[in-house]
Symmetry: C2
Subunit: 428 residues, 2 copies
């Protein structure tokens, strides 16, 4: 391609992205004042459209999967990409569940009256336009689009290029739902190109997009955080810890440790480091390590842990800072709750950490002093999940400190305004 034609392409893509942005902004205005019933209707009609067009979605997905195989994509990525009848049904069910969530818009968060008689209410409103940038899973198109709609936001979806046809088939069902409810179709738009330049354009359109949510691997998220001129709600790493305190019940500690690490190793709430109180090294360390090894987990230990079993490999300094997302755990002895708090705050990623102990005071100290979005006592770190929290569907777990920390559900996709009712007050 010549430089001139490339430049012309860039200009036409830029114009296209700005047109999408302006349409999203207009749709957001309409959505902000749409009734809860109309949004619910659109979500249920979209779910039905997904069921009605299941065969077409599976066929479109077949094109994506075939292309991915030709391109030599790794088997786990192809599995993430693949849709069959059951997975399509699950996508429709997810939309129905979102339809059943309470509409957060219009909720009064607080209301009070001032001495001068002004009546002040803080009321939830949508955020506006949300840009979502994600990788291979095509179901995100429906999940993210649906959750944005529930909270009254317009969204611009930029899916992975591998799932291009699948996402387009799903997006057309979402559009069908919007039309059925007489809501603007531009409320959920899919970027209609695989050109990666479209992502950079999204990240620099603050006049059209209010918040960017990246969903995917660390490289994607870091690229988005570095390039974006728009606030980002990001989920970085989950380097999560289980601390087994000196006052822990051993049976409970074993159950929680194996679950926190091994239930699913690829989720952000999976434990990556086990800390054991030096006081109970003699009684607790060996069974905890044995359970993990028996469950098929590779154990990398400090000096004392290595002595327990020839299968324990030495832990390197880097291991304490690593999110393995795999059947690997780093194990270390620490000096009581103080040592645990210090280790977690220094090496953790401020995501999710748990203490197992029968000592209520130690538990409260750990949960107060560990600076993480989710802290638990006597429970598995794998509970780090919006639906386990009772918040319904989630778009991810935020590691931000601003706006939303922890699970991001419909409520977290809102802003608020102050509504002030007076009787002629002027300021002295």
């Amino acid at each position: 391609m010549t430089a001139v034609s490339k430049d012309r392409d860039h200009q036409s893509l830029d114009a296209e992205m700005r047109r999408i942005g302006a349409a999203a902004r207009d749709a957001a205005r309409a959505l902000a004042i749409a009734s809860p019933e109309s949004k619910t209707k659109a979500l249920r009609a979209a779910a039905q459209a997904i069921r009605d067009h299941a065969a077409e979605i599976v066929a479109a997905n077949g094109d994506d999967v075939a292309a991915a195989k030709r391109a030599g994509l790794a088997a786990p990525l192809i599995d993430r990409l693949m849709l069959d009848a059951a997975r399509v049904a699950a996508i429709a069910k997810g939309l129905d569940e979102i339809a059943g969530l309470p509409d957060p818009v219009g909720t009064e968060l607080a209301r009070w009256t001032r001495p001068n008689g002004l009546d002040i209410a803080r009321v939830r409103v949508p955020l506006g336009v949300i840009g979502i940038i994600y990788e291979s899973r095509p179901n995100v198109t429906a999940d993210a689009g649906g959750l944005c709609l529930r909270a009254g936001n317009a969204c611009i979806l930029r899916g992975g290029s591998e799932s291009f046809h699948s996402s387009r088939a799903i997006a057309s069902c979402l559009a069908e739902g919007l039309r059925a409810a007489k809501l603007p179709v531009a409320a959920i738009q899919l970027v209609p190109t695989r050109d990666r330049a479209a992502v950079s354009m999204m990240l620099t359109m603050p006049e059209f997009i209010d918040v960017i949510i990246p969903r995917g691997g660390k490289a994607l998220i870091e690229r988005v955080m570095n390039e974006s001129r728009i606030p980002v709600l990001a989920h970085l790493e989950g380097n999560c810890h289980v601390y087994v305190d000196g006052a822990a019940d051993l049976a409970m500690a074993r159950r929680i440790t194996v679950n926190a690490k091994m239930r699913r190793t690829s989720v952000c709430g999976a434990a990556e480091t086990l800390l054991v109180d030096r006081k109970v090294a003699g009684t607790h360390l060996a069974p905890l390590v044995k359970d993990l090894l028996d469950a098929g987990c590779a154990v990398r230990g400090d000096a004392q842990t290595q002595k327990l079993d020839p299968r324990v490999a030495p832990a390197s300094d880097k291991d304490w800072d690593t999110e393995f997302l795999d059947a690997i755990i780093a194990v270390k002895l620490v000096d009581g709750v103080d040592g645990a708090i210090q280790h977690v705050n220094r090496h953790g990623s401020h995501h999710t950490d748990t203490i197992v102990t029968g000592d209520a005071a130690a538990a409260e100290r750990f949960m107060r002093e560990v600076d993480s979005g989710i802290v638990l006592h006597n429970a598995s770190t794998q509970f780090a999940d919006g639906s386990e929290f009772g918040m319904g569907a989630e778009i991810g777990i935020s590691t931000n400190r601003l706006h939303a920390r922890g699970p991001v559900g419909a409520e977290q996709l809102t802003s608020f305004k102050y509504v002030v009712r007076g009787t002629g007050q002027i300021r002295p």
Copy 2:
């Protein structure tokens, strides 16, 4: 200066800023678990130190004012910079008021129990380290430092170079307060150089600073928003509107319009545009315009407004989008509440807008559909202020949609964490 020595200076400033950042991070950890009483004690002791050292503060300020005069700074800027005994007393009083605010840290925002018995609480925690970048007013050093401390945050303050000596004198009183309460002195640090490169360094230290708050003119705020790699809580413009509806009581509309525009013209809540319902152009427009002109306000009107008085100048297209921050107002007829909503959403800055009307339904529509942080009915836009809202001291009015919208007080300077109490639960 040679390139080499300039580079060496840059390196040493960079090292100094990183040292300040690391000290703030450590201090934030200590502050996050400090008792409410110790923070209150530090604030009261700082107020007392300000009173004890009033003469030194005024003397230091004299150096700043003399330098500003030599540099030919404009009179209003010199007035902003100037401190006398009364202004120093007001700074001390401000700290005492912040000391009296409820401590937001540790408040349970919500608590619920899941079917599996997990007890989940959402609890307020500090944001962490806040970087504040401001211009000439030296009182911001105390106000911002105090408010950050009340909410358990460490802060790094970068004041205007004109107020360098004044801010240093005030900061040393804040340090005295921290020492009296045995809190880390690094909880409130003033950047000890006038070098503008320090600002760029602050904006690129996400490992040490969690949020940046700029306070000052539009140029400063835009520079910060463009350069920052850290989330920004920004106050952009307040292009605020008064809409006088067809069902407005004329006397109330006159009172509110003059107050909204003229009480103080330099505040962000000052009205910049008056919209009048075409239905009452014959009865309401003339007295509203006359009041403004009589109060010394320049009026720029649309065609019909220009006919009322030879003193009315023609409004240009740009005037509808302008924050005058001066005794100037743009006046326009619109077609009822629909026309008003459309104009405000198109031309306003989503800050603060009011409707004057006796029609409750029109008022509710205006407040629902106008997309601004603060919407009012029958009250002056000049109430856009944290203390008028009953939120105590504020650090500004945020025009963000994420995290904090509207007045930013101690509560808005916090994040939250989820505290989950279990009895051995593992995730199925």
